[in-house]
């Protein structure tokens, strides 16, 4: 069985909520817990979890949507490549509608560029095999869950002797922005619901410094409603007891050391690099670049194109929203100038963006 039904039982949800209320009984002030995973953002909104929690607990969303934290100059770079003759852009679906400085991949496609949505980077390798006369560029966006799959695709292309497969890499890695946000004096985070599938790869131990040195409770939490409620309960108990440790709620998938084989794959192809996070800025060592041994597959090195100067949309508060400082309702564009149909910022484009979740499920 895959356990999705068992983790949705409303009777257990009532029990967990009673225990959460007990845990924060007598708590003065509000505990703020941040979730750092787009799938959590969606699940919390979809299940109406905020409305069930006592007022002493506030859930906010952090920079957990990879498309949303991708800076506009990356989108511009992808658009420039889409305009390059003889090029096919292969990407996960979310990226095509993200506005660049003056266009989007969807608009380029409408004007004749060859932009294809794929489910797996291996599908992009297959596309390259079937189109040997063209350059196939896969848009490598995503955290540690996705980066090893892209590493795997590069190794596969190498093994099959495919020389027209390239990756435009902008992968980011997780614990670093969480440490950056907890250090922000404007933002009080009392606990992290740590990302589920990122943790399946990196392991729960990766959050130890955050708990031990940063003093922030961390609970690796699954995506079903009971997972999230239990994750909140464990955080509430830590926070009210004044302890900060790493716990694994999602133990059916996540282990303390993570997936060693995936980590090796990632380290074989990628090296840590500084990365620019939309809204947060440059965080040292929080990104991944393709190692020089795999330079033949690096679109940035092999397919030089002129990229326009980046320009962020005026009035868009995406950056502040990604830091959990502002809610979508506080953005003057939300639901008026910015909708899923006509998004201004990435937070409204991605199906797991904070604004998209609020638009779809918010009250």
């Amino acid at each position: 069985m895959n356990f999705s039904r068992e983790f949705r039982d409303p009777r257990v949800a009532r029990c967990l909520l009673a225990e959460i209320r007990q845990a924060v009984d007598g708590q003065t002030g509000v505990l703020t817990f941040m979730e750092v995973c787009g799938t959590h953002t969606m699940a919390i909104s979809q299940q109406g979890i905020r409305s069930l929690l006592p007022p002493a607990i506030r859930l906010i969303s952090g920079p957990g949507c990879p498309v949303c934290v991708t800076p506009v100059d990356y989108v511009d770079h992808a658009i420039a490549l889409a305009r390059r003759p003889g090029t096919i852009i292969a990407t996960f679906g979310d990226m095509v509608r993200v506005p660049g400085s003056s266009s989007s991949l969807l608009r380029e496609k409408a004007q004749g560029a060859d932009v294809r949505i794929v489910y797996s980077p291996l599908d992009a390798v297959a596309l390259a095999r079937r189109n040997p006369e063209r350059a196939v560029v896969f848009l490598g966006v995503g955290f540690e869950t996705t980066a090893p799959t892209v590493a795997g695709s590069i190794l596969q292309a190498q093994k099959q002797g495919i020389s027209n497969y390239f990756v435009l890499a902008a992968h980011k890695t997780m614990p670093a922005p969480m440490a950056a946000l907890s250090a922000d004096p404007e933002l009080q985070v009392d606990g992290y619901l740590c990302p589920a599938h990122v943790s399946a790869i990196i392991g729960a131990a990766a959050y130890q410094p955050l708990a031990r040195e940063g003093g922030v409770p961390c609970v690796v939490t699954g995506f079903e409603p009971l997972d999230i409620l239990q994750g909140v309960l464990l955080l509430a108990r830590q926070a009210t007891a004044g302890v900060a440790k790493v716990e694994i709620q999602y133990s059916r998938v996540v282990k303390p050391d993570g997936n060693r084989k995936a980590q090796q794959l990632l380290a074989e192809v990628f090296a840590p690099a500084d990365a620019h996070w939309r809204g947060i800025g440059v965080i040292p060592g929080s990104g991944l670049e393709i190692r020089s041994a795999y330079a033949p597959f690096d679109a940035a090195r092999q397919l030089p194109v002129a990229v326009e100067a980046p320009r962020e949309a005026a009035g868009c508060l995406c950056g502040e929203i990604l830091k959990g400082k502002v809610t979508p309702h506080q953005c003057p564009l939300f639901r008026t100038g910015c909708t899923p149909e006509n998004p201004v910022g990435a937070c409204m484009v991605s199906s797991e963006g904070t604004c998209a979740a609020e638009y779809k499920y918010g009250i």
Binding site: D9, A18, T39, Y119, D123, T145, H197, S251
Partner: protein, 76 residues
């Protein structure tokens, strides 16, 4: 983006498994997970198995939930 779909392994050919959920079948690479057997539930992300679903650990969590129900904490 980091969406993992739990699927059951139906057959394995080298490094590729055919997996199924709700009647949908799809190939998944086993490049990242060792020792997968037919019948296992694995978490698939972007065409790759990223982890096995641990039935014992899942049962341990469910046991905590059952004990909660038995204590009758939830108001009906």
């Amino acid at each position: 983006m980091c969406l993992g779909v739990p699927m059951q392994v139906k057959s394995i050919d080298g490094e590729v498994a055919v997996c199924e959920i709700d009647g949908v079948r799809r190939e998944a690479s086993l490049m990242m997970v060792d020792g997968v057997r037919v019948g296992d539930f694995i978490l698939i992300h972007a065409g790759f198995a990223i982890e096995r679903l641990d039935a014992e650990d899942a049962q341990a969590t469910l046991l905590i939930f059952r004990e909660m129900l038995d204590r009758g904490l939830g108001p009906e």
